[in-house]
Symmetry: C2
Subunit: 325 residues, 2 copies
């Protein structure tokens, strides 16, 4: 029997050393990890910054997600917010709190997830600093940074009446994955493991954020809390309403029909209310040439009785609330 190494037995320094050794470096770091702060290049004289936190039993369960999954997801959810400004992710800092009896192998897997997600979703981006602490439950807090490369940021507030509303990435797939896990239906979970894995390791279309900015997107955000809630954010920030065409959602629904049937759920609820795919929702002038990956799902109309309409019906803003769940 080998002795199990935990962060308590190894201490902060050794635990960090083993973890950091597995990470890729950022192409943009002038001074990397190891000093009081890192120094990152910001060639156009600006940087974008965002932060997102995941808490055990509120945002994830350790039974359902490995350390690797959580490292991946922490990167994905944060670089999606950078992409939603039309920026290229450059550098992350990661604060991790775990129970002191957490095995070092869990931390190493977490680091592998951070690394692989950076390399797959945001090449050139890497972890430039972090913090490791002991806590009663796992908490992962990431701040992500990016470069606008001289472009103007794409805000939530720029949607114009007449604009086309479009989505890059999937809708409802992560919510379907969560519902499968919650169902406890092992057959269904195994049959639709690709869907379940979107919940565990989302694949936000990061490069499409830059493509949308170049194509002249008038507004954009990361779909983290569901289409209904997030579209309302653009509508309110822009002083318009968004009319979604249900026909144009059919493609998103179709691929979730089978898993929905397997657990007697409704795929439309996932498509309209499910967050965590971290897809991009953007608006474009009708004259714009949409990047190929953006699928039109509606139009911007003058501010009406509700921020978001599905056809002619107001769409309630159901979705995720990070405090209430």
């Amino acid at each position: 029997m080998t002795h199990t190494e935990t962060i308590r037995t190894l201490g902060e320094n050794e635990s960090l050393k083993r973890t950091i050794a597995r990470l890729n470096s950022s192409d943009h770091a002038l001074v990397g990890p190891g000093d009081d702060s890192a120094v990152i290049a910001a060639p156009d004289g600006r940087f974008v910054v965002t932060t997102d936190t995941m808490i055990e039993d509120h945002d994830f369960k350790l039974d359902w997600s490995t350390g690797y999954d959580l490292g991946w997801k922490a990167v994905a959810s944060n670089v999606a917010d950078v992409a939603a400004m039309g920026a290229v992710p450059t550098a992350l800092v990661v604060a991790l709190a775990v129970p002191a009896d957490t095995e070092i192998s869990w931390l190493e897997a977490f680091a592998d997830g951070l690394r692989d997600a950076c390399q797959k979703l945001a090449p050139g981006c890497g972890v430039v600093g972090g913090d490791l602490a002991a806590a009663n439950q796992v908490m992962i807090s990431v701040a992500a940074h990016g470069s606008l490369e001289g472009r103007e940021p794409v805000l939530r507030s720029g949607a114009q009446v007449g604009d086309i509303v479009a989505v890059a990435g999937t809708l409802g797939r992560a919510a379907a994955g969560l519902a499968l896990l919650q169902s406890g239906n092992t057959d269904a979970i195994n049959s639709y493991d690709a869907v379940v894995n979107t919940q565990r390791r989302p694949n936000p279309p990061v490069a499409e954020g830059v493509a949308a900015a170049i194509a002249g997107a008038t507004s954009m955000l990361d779909l983290s809390d569901g289409l209904a809630k997030d579209a309302a954010r653009i509508a309110k920030a822009s002083g318009v309403s968004i009319q979604i065409d249900r026909l144009q959602l059919q493609g998103f629904e179709a691929i979730l029909e089978e898993p929905a049937r397997a657990i007697e759920a409704n795929e439309f609820d996932w498509v309209i209310g499910g967050g965590e795919d971290h897809s991009l929702l953007a608006t474009f002038s009708p004259e714009a040439k949409l990047p190929r990956t953006f699928k039109p799902i509606g139009v911007v109309i003058p501010a009406g009785p509700a921020p978001v309409l599905l056809g002619l019906q107001p769409l309630p803003e159901h979705g995720w609330d990070s405090v209430r769940g």
Copy 2:
């Protein structure tokens, strides 16, 4: 009786709205809070970034620190890391997790602490983004950013044999405050409330970081884990040893003699092993004119049997370990 408002009853949006309304804005924000990311000016084409986390019952107790204290301390501990690079703090992002039954008044006090610490310790710096989540215990994670204003960053690795070792700020005062709180000796706590308040709301000498950089500091760090441990970090990174002159620590000890006597503690242990004052430790060439606030405490010598010597004796690296305590 009025109904007590908690973040659960108010929900994420309303809780955030009330909190954000109390914050000051950053002078450096081109796009402030409210979008997927903020956009911050980085006039010299670089930015510095650091992150630091505080966990309830590991780094603080809610019985001993108010929401205001914790907001202040979260800013102080992070801007000190920016200052230790020789940079000016510009922008913070703050991730806060609290139990869902936390009263909104606690969050409002936390925001007031963030604001006042920014205005007092790092004028021009403000919170540009954040995240609020529910958790079983309070967790505060901040990422702080700064501008080097065209200067080279001051690293830990530049100390040269013959350099003077100097400190800006207090030593051991926050540790004394913690010991007073832990003693439960109410008389002593009340008699030395200024010392206790250094534990609750540290006052790092942020502007002295820039002053040290301009004066040609060859290395610098933020004293967060205690002089013995942090001096060893400079020594190891620079490939030298640091020899501390106990005589030059007497001023730091003298002002802690009385509280030490009151609770039968040893003030020297606080001065040598206590972190959390977030003072700055730097090295300067013997030809440099030290900023007035830096007090010499030793010299840099060739790498010897121990990274840090107190006089002729190796100094053990006792200090704070964020995992083990």
